[in-house]
């Protein structure tokens, strides 16, 4: 029953995929009429545009290119020509570093805010003002103070991962069931032991929800940040391929950004399931 449902779902997924690819192929492959076009723009878009054939590559073209990209992902031929695997690795490394730093700050600080009504009130204005700032708005300031584009990107990841983790940790800690705290008190557990054995596991599902939101945002932001700072990374790669007018590579990058984002999310989802508990 459950198995057959899953099987049916797979079939439908496959059908939808085929339908999408077909539609794509038809949309770009059909010989449309020669559209009137700004001559400047036509020159920019190259021969295809003027021949009435869409400049948009079809699925086969993209697939072939993807195969090329993935069959040699880690080559390095100078600053402007690196394998897609290397570019993705740069992005993942920046995200991981910024994210980890954010966790190191957000979780202890969230504990403090969650445990202490005083700190909660005292720090709330800062959080309320800092939270809605677009992480990219920090970029110029980061570039000016840190003077290193790669570190600035990491800082931007740090700042955007911080808030969901901080707010969820504080919320999770402050809403730990009173009963469990009372048990810890009557057992005379030390504050450290209470934090480790009672509050942390009790709040872990909420904290992990924040961490999962954070990794999603971080992955969204890294692409934009790398477009700005350039040099390396998947964001830079997309922008560079756009400048090279390689729409095929742009589409492939989009696909890979989605895949890596999904893997990061699933990873956090696994950890989230591992720390969740049934009451």
């Amino acid at each position: 029953m459950d198995l057959s449902l899953r099987f049916k779902a797979h079939i439908v997924t496959l059908l939808v995929l085929v339908a999408l690819l077909l539609a794509w192929q038809l949309a770009v492959g059909g010989r449309g009429s020669v559209v009137k076009m700004d001559p400047e723009y036509a020159k920019l878009m190259g021969a295809n545009a003027t021949q009435g054939k869409s400049a948009m590559p079809g699925p086969l073209e993209v697939g072939t290119k993807l195969w090329q990209l993935l069959s040699d992902p880690f080559y390095d031929r100078g600053p402007n020509d690196k394998g897609i695997g290397i570019q993705l690795a740069y992005s993942v490394a920046r995200v991981s570093l910024g994210y980890l730093l954010a966790a190191l700050v957000a979780i202890p600080l969230g504990f403090l805010i969650g445990m202490s009504p005083l700190m909660n009130r005292a720090l709330d204005p800062f959080i309320q003002v800092l939270k809605p700032i677009s992480p990219l708005a920090w970029m110029p300031l980061a570039l000016y103070t840190i003077k290193d584009s790669s570190l600035s990107a990491i800082f931007v990841i740090f700042i955007c991962s911080l808030w969901p983790m901080l707010i969820n940790t504080a919320f999770g800690v402050s809403t730990v069931r009173k009963d469990w705290i009372n048990v810890a008190k009557t057992l005379e557990l030390s504050p450290g032991r209470t934090a480790r054995s009672v509050i942390l596991p009790a709040a872990a599902p909420t904290i992990l929800t924040g961490m999962r939101i954070s990794i999603g945002i971080a992955w969204l932001v890294i692409v934009a940040a790398e477009m700005l700072v350039g040099g390396t990374g998947i964001g830079y790669f997309v922008w560079n391929e756009w400048n090279n007018l390689s729409i095929t590579n742009v589409i492939n990058s989009i696909l890979l950004i989605g895949l890596v984002g999904m893997i990061l999310d699933q990873l956090m989802g696994r950890i989230q399931r591992a720390v969740s508990y049934a009451e």
């Binding site: 069931r177 009963d179 469990w180 009372n182 048990v183 008190k185 009557t186 057992l187 005379e188 557990l189 032991r193 054995s197 009672v198 596991p201 009790a202 872990a204 720390v275 508990y277 049934a278 009451e279």
Partner: protein, 319 residues
């Protein structure tokens, strides 16, 4: 035999009061006030009263989890000023950590009581108490996988495993079905026979109090709740649920308690209880065909107050 009242008091509650601000923000309301009573070492002490009279608040103050507005509690010679491993609490909701197995829940308590023990010692000790409440088979399950009764057993094992001087129970079985409740009451009887642990229990179940308690404290309705009287259990010490009701004192005792809950707890609330000597509550011993003499507690002359208890079983009373 020396009656409990003649022995050294183990818990002494002196002039306890708890106030909360009124919802309007003006003034305060006493949930209860002027609460005085003593619990003797090894005694099973029950408190009965309607919901809202402050029973849980008294227990939480006794546990050190809450503070009184007035008055003090002395337990085992020391002022109660916070939670202590000497006073274990069995909570109404089992309050087990759901991310830990039954075993780990008990081990957490044991390791806190004996920080110097090895892992093996902690494990053995926890297993021993889980076996005591017949949970040897289910130790490695998490609370969500256990039935309500089994969870409460783990709660009992956790409390007993720290070998406290005083056991505090706040309506421990009220969330369970009648059958499970019965078997857990048997468990408590069994444990009492083995350890004669000083126990303070809140209940609103008259039968539970009669089965388990040595003495039963009756509280008037809140707010401004007060101690109405203390009832001594006149049933023999060795009790079993099966033939408890055959004892001649069963109905006098039961009727006395029910009558209190139905009418007197309300009549004695507020000004109706102005005559109560809250410092030396009347002690009542409901028994068949007897006029019960109100006995004064330790060091006091009998106050001369008397209460006649109704000797008729309830089914003949209605005939």
């Amino acid at each position: 035999m020396i009656g409990p009242a003649m022995q050294q008091s183990f818990i002494s509650v002196q002039g306890l009061a708890k106030r909360f601000p009124d919802p309007t923000g003006k003034g305060e309301t006493n949930v209860f006030r002027d609460v005085w009573f003593n619990v003797v070492e090894g005694e099973f002490f029950c408190v009965i009263g309607h919901s809202g009279c402050g029973k849980s608040t008294i227990l939480n103050i006794l546990a050190g989890l809450d503070t009184p507005s007035d008055g003090v509690i002395v337990a085992n010679g020391k002022h109660v000023a916070g939670p202590s491993l000497d006073r274990a609490v069995i909570f109404q909701g089992h309050a087990l950590m759901p991310w830990m197995t039954a075993r780990s829940n008990v081990e957490l308590a044991v390791s806190s009581r004996h920080p110097d023990w090895t892992k093996a010692q902690i494990r053995d000790h926890a297993a021993k108490y889980l076996a005591l409440v017949h949970l040897d088979q289910a130790m490695d399950k998490k609370p969500a996988q256990l039935s309500g009764g089994m969870r409460q057993r783990v709660g009992i094992a956790r409390a007993l495993a720290i070998e406290p001087k005083i056991l505090l129970m706040d309506e421990p079985f009220s969330a369970l079905d009648a059958l499970t409740r019965g078997s857990l009451q048997d468990e408590v009887l069994d444990m009492r026979a083995k350890t004669s642990q000083t126990t303070f229990m809140i209940t609103h179940d008259v039968d539970e109090a009669m089965l388990l308690a040595d003495r039963i404290l009756l509280m008037t309705n809140g707010p401004e709740a007060r101690v109405a009287e203390i009832v001594e259990n006149t049933l023999p010490k060795q009790r079993s649920r099966v033939d408890l009701h055959k004892h001649p004192n069963y109905y006098p005792l039961r009727n006395h308690l029910i009558e209190f809950l139905v009418t007197r707890s309300r009549e004695l609330a507020g000004v109706g209880g102005a005559h109560l000597d809250v410092r030396n509550p009347i002690i009542v011993r409901p028994a068949l065909g007897e006029t019960t003499h109100a006995l004064a507690p330790v060091g006091q002359e009998p106050s001369g107050q008397e209460r006649k208890t109704d000797p008729r079983p309830s089914h003949t009373a209605t005939a």
